[in-house]
Assembly symmetry: C3
Homo-oligomer: 312 residues x 3
């Protein structure tokens, strides 16, 4: 089997947003960045998603951006994507501020030479989410339903960002996330069709949805509907149990292989559809790097197999 | 350590019962069968349980059966067993029909040259089971308790099938399954003793029982009582938690190694008892093939070890 | 990377406390001991924690102790520690008896040449714990709160044992355990400071606490406070989910990598703090040896990495 260079990227969920002296990572010395890159590389990763939950790229000067990329390169790490989270362009009262931030982050992303600008419509964690053992078990912010005004506003702001991305030669991607306009398969497809730009698509992060403590849409249907629009992809998995009367739902983070989503089937479908973007191994809790390293090896096997089946 | 050729078989739980054009698998072209065989072989399996949940062998003509076996052989796969499920010989109203179907399936199994005909007394999923997230969390059909008439009917129909199997040189096996006459250790042993045929035994599929959302029998006792009667074996495992007051039970599919059943101990016991039949790696949810492939490698290690301990 | 000989020890949770003829393990023939040592060695372990849940070392004569050590040595197994459990020196009515037993066990441990004597303040399982699916889901014995008399008694008895250990050239370690004076981070630190002996420290068995069916302290804080006092270490992990209103908690035994504690981070911290003691891989349920063997391989990787980072 030919060696394929899949763009399988590590996430930075397990990494501290402050350095060993308590400074935010954008102010950290190069050595502290290098430590993280070495960590990620030690698990076999060659790609890394730069998330603003770890370091805000817009806060780096051009000189610092170069240092950042050099440090990454020296450890064999490439940065194919920037991910901006919980800064929704329709967050009540912060619409303009968040839109401006997204534009800035996009400029920074372009300077870093990434191919995808990833974001979504999810908002900062509510107090209930911060108190919860896992944030997804508590209720977060909700985009208003049956509110054509807000929907239109969301579409137009995302279009504006999408055109900006286009002008910079980047793809843009919007993450599936509960209770946002990207919270169900149908709503996400409707939204992306309304945005209607060739470079803007979905991030079918189905793991966000199947972990909820409530009845959830079927992962197979979710992927079937959203994969055709994928421009980026967060992959994670969960095990799950439910009382038959739905009085409780339990979900637990798992490896990609051991959860309820069949990634063998889903990656096959993605390759058939011609998906050739980034695969981000996401995970929450415990040794994120250890689990996602295992996931990357598993995913490589699945993708090699899917490719050879599609080609045969 | 000598290389032992354990008969470790893949199950087909993860495979679609229709081909890429929507036709039932018994009507599928050989290439579609081969794809499944290649899939299974890619995870290292040399054996495969043919389940009628995937393809009904009685619907294949003799010519098609030959094609089927040739396709399997070309990918290095052998078929040691046919498994007929949810067609109980005491399903109310369908006793005769299901018995006739079992006879037909057995004839087909013999033509395919298998060594074991596997079945049970479980019935089709109820509507509640179909709606449930995992079918085993909802109530299924129950064999009537304290009903000597139905028990006798079950015993006599299974005896009839057992004699048929004997005449074809096959073993027959009955799966432990909740709320059937094979639903507790004692009832299963009583039943098999009443059937009283040398070629008919149990399939100690203890995983079926320990995953229930209710107090369950101890897996160690279940195996201790039923392994001596084993003629076939579905192996799967679950993690489990319970409220101490039993107000809820949670169970999650796991790898063989990571669940509550200690398969190191249980396989040791089986080898001590002289079990030399098929080991079917079963699993539900997610990447069944990936998980069972891992399980097969784990199981091989355990069996090699158990054999060398018994021989030493 | 240099090959480091970390003292990673197997636990004996999965092993029967009686031999194949039903005799207690201290009366078992050498061959039966050897079987257990071979078992443990087959998963790559070179160290073993001798727990009195499996064999009470104080019941071995000196001659038998030599046989025991010889059998271990012949299978490549060393015994760095003796662990005495559920014999609290403040168990109501058994204070003197348990203290005397601890002294005896300590003498036996010294004769076996171990470096650590490990114990705690937890008491025998209650009936509710024995009935529960997992013992930790039911309420166990509680050390009396706001009872300076009992606290002092505990401190003085442990000091007495600690001095005994010191005279024998051994370290001593006390296990974190819920509802004892070692049941929260602060209480455990207070207790060990009151004991105030250089050779007596904590066993930061945080797994004992994060598996409870009630709100639990944060594992990161627990380790941050207790690791500086570590003289021994039981490592195990759990996955966990909670209702956001805390009406239920679920916890499931997991591999070290796959649970909520980030052992990559925690082992890094331990090495930074200069921890150079024994690492005991503990686990409950299922194939304990299989899971802990995997954990030992994972842990070796983490420790090698942590050491090279600290040295660089």
């Amino acid at each position: 089997m030919a060696q394929n260079d899949w763009k399988i990227a590590a996430c930075l969920n397990g990494q501290s947003p402050v350095d060993s002296k308590g400074a935010p990572m954008h102010e950290a010395p190069v050595e502290e960045w290098s430590r993280v890159f070495e960590d990620v590389a030690s698990e076999g990763f060659k790609y890394l998603e730069l998330s603003d939950g770890w370091l805000k790229p817009s806060l780096l000067t051009s000189a610092r951006k170069k240092e950042f990329l050099q440090a990454a390169e020296q450890t064999g790490i490439k940065i194919p994507s920037v991910h901006i989270q919980r800064a929704s362009v329709i967050q009540p009262g912060l619409e303009k501020e968040n839109l401006a931030y997204a534009h800035e982050a996009m400029e920074a992303a372009a300077e870093l030479g990434v191919e995808v600008f990833s974001t979504g419509l999810h908002q900062p964690l509510t107090d209930a989410q911060k108190r919860a053992f896992w944030f997804w078990t508590a209720q977060g912010a909700k985009d208003p339903r049956n509110d054509p005004q807000t929907w239109k506003k969301a579409v137009s702001s995302i279009r504006e960002l999408g055109k900006h991305a286009e002008s910079l030669g980047m793809k843009m991607s919007l993450e599936l996330y509960e209770d946002t306009y990207l919270g169900t398969a149908q709503s996400a497809v409707d939204f992306i069709q309304d945005v209607n730009l060739p470079n803007v698509g979905l991030n079918p992060d189905v793991g966000n949805l199947i972990r909820l403590h409530r009845p959830v849409e079927d992962w197979r249907m979710l992927y079937e509907m959203t994969l055709p629009y994928a421009t980026y992809w967060h992959l994670k998995n969960y095990q799950r149990d439910e009382a038959p009367d739905r009085s409780w739902c339990v979900s637990l983070p798992s490896t990609l292989r051991d959860g309820i989503i069949n990634y063998r089937e889903v990656t096959q479908r993605a390759i058939e559809l011609g998906y050739d973007g980034v695969f981000v191994c996401e995970h929450y809790g415990g040794d994120v790097l250890g689990v996602t390293g295992e996931n990357a090896r598993y995913l490589t096997k699945l993708l090699d197999r899917a490719k050879s089946r599609v080609e045969s």
